[in-house]
Symmetry: C2
């Protein structure tokens, strides 16, 4: 299997997704144009149709690839944590790391982020391995796992668990959107840092028991 440089590409599908992801990185979803991807792969436009039904299929593959990058960012954020010994506290830290990783990725790679969470992502791909990080979990699964751990560790009452993933995602995804596309875009990054903490605080307070925990600090 010597990598022949003839017109037989080898693994064109992967090459197209890679090129498409590069296009998405600078330019967002609209920039992932089929012909340019094939051009970068050194191939004719029509060749793409041997691996993708149409442009939309390519875009979805790129979207899945971008989501995998989000998952990796979250996993990295969680990997940097140091255990305290207190399972409740650790579970909370892992939960917060999901939000931090999510928003950090959005700000670091806004175009990839926009591509990752396009109006095509529904629950059908919620466990798609192509959307998963090194742990095999998609961003959504990383969140639900963190929430499950909150319950197991006793930090979160079980009756608050239902739908909690949507509450958490709402707050974090909303801030990410505002930070890269909305009014926060031009503001001081420090402010966004603070707002990130406050949003996660807000979500945490909304999900966990202790409303008093929010000190007047």
């Amino acid at each position: 299997m010597s990598t022949r440089e003839s017109y037989r590409h080898g693994d064109l599908r992967r090459a197209l997704v890679k090129a498409g992801t590069a296009l998405a990185r600078k330019g967002g979803p609209a920039a992932v144009v089929l012909r340019e991807a094939t051009r970068r792969a050194g191939v004719t436009a029509a060749a793409a149709y041997r691996h993708f039904a149409d442009h939309q299929a390519l875009l979805e593959a790129v979207c899945a690839s971008a989501q995998a990058l989000v998952a990796i960012a979250i996993e990295r954020e969680q990997a940097e944590l140091t255990a305290t010994g207190d399972p409740r506290e650790d579970a909370i830290a892992r939960f917060r790391a999901v939000g931090q990783g999510y928003i950090r990725f959005a700000r670091a790679e806004p175009n990839l982020f926009r591509t990752a969470f396009l109006p095509s992502q529904d629950l059908h791909g919620i466990d798609d391995p192509a959307r998963a990080g090194r742990t095999g979990k998609t961003p959504f699964r990383l969140l639900t796992s963190a929430l499950d751990d909150l319950v197991v560790s006793g930090a979160m009452p079980p009756q608050r668990r239902t739908g909690a993933e949507f509450l958490a995602w709402s707050g974090v995804h909303g801030l990410a959107t505002l930070a890269i596309d909305g009014p926060l875009r031009a503001l001081d990054p420090k402010l966004t840092d603070m707002l990130t903490e406050r949003v996660i605080d807000m979500v945490q307070e909304g999900l966990l028991i202790t409303p008093q925990a929010k000190g007047t600090s």
Copy 2:
């Protein structure tokens, strides 16, 4: 100024925005295509360039028009409230109506909603009259006004006011996004109704003092 039906259109700009908005209503931002808009206005494609610098400019005008519709939806939601006499409670109700109107609009007109809050809207148009509703306020101003009222009425401590608009918007916008593009899309609308309430509760608890105040009424 009899509306001549000659090739002199009268107010082509308005006609194009109207046609573009109709396109956006079914099909989202990607569907607002310049040539089709001119076609519907009974005019050649090139004519659009007398009123818009390029396709992006038309799209932004349509976006502003869609935002105005969001503002109107919020205003309608607020107009349906009945005063209780308690200024704090009324302020809270008006605040919650912003979120309810926002999410309700997103679910009723998802394509217009996607168009309204495109990655082009930054703070520069935050007071653009084209983005405003009948009260002259844009959706963002309706939110900040509601928050200001919360402070004035004493329902919200002033030190929590800073950045509150971003926290509130984050939660509500995030849920709206999930409801129309995300995993919530295919789920039971009743669940989304409940989550809407819970998100608004969460935001309210995060911003106000009294966590007990949230009535399930």
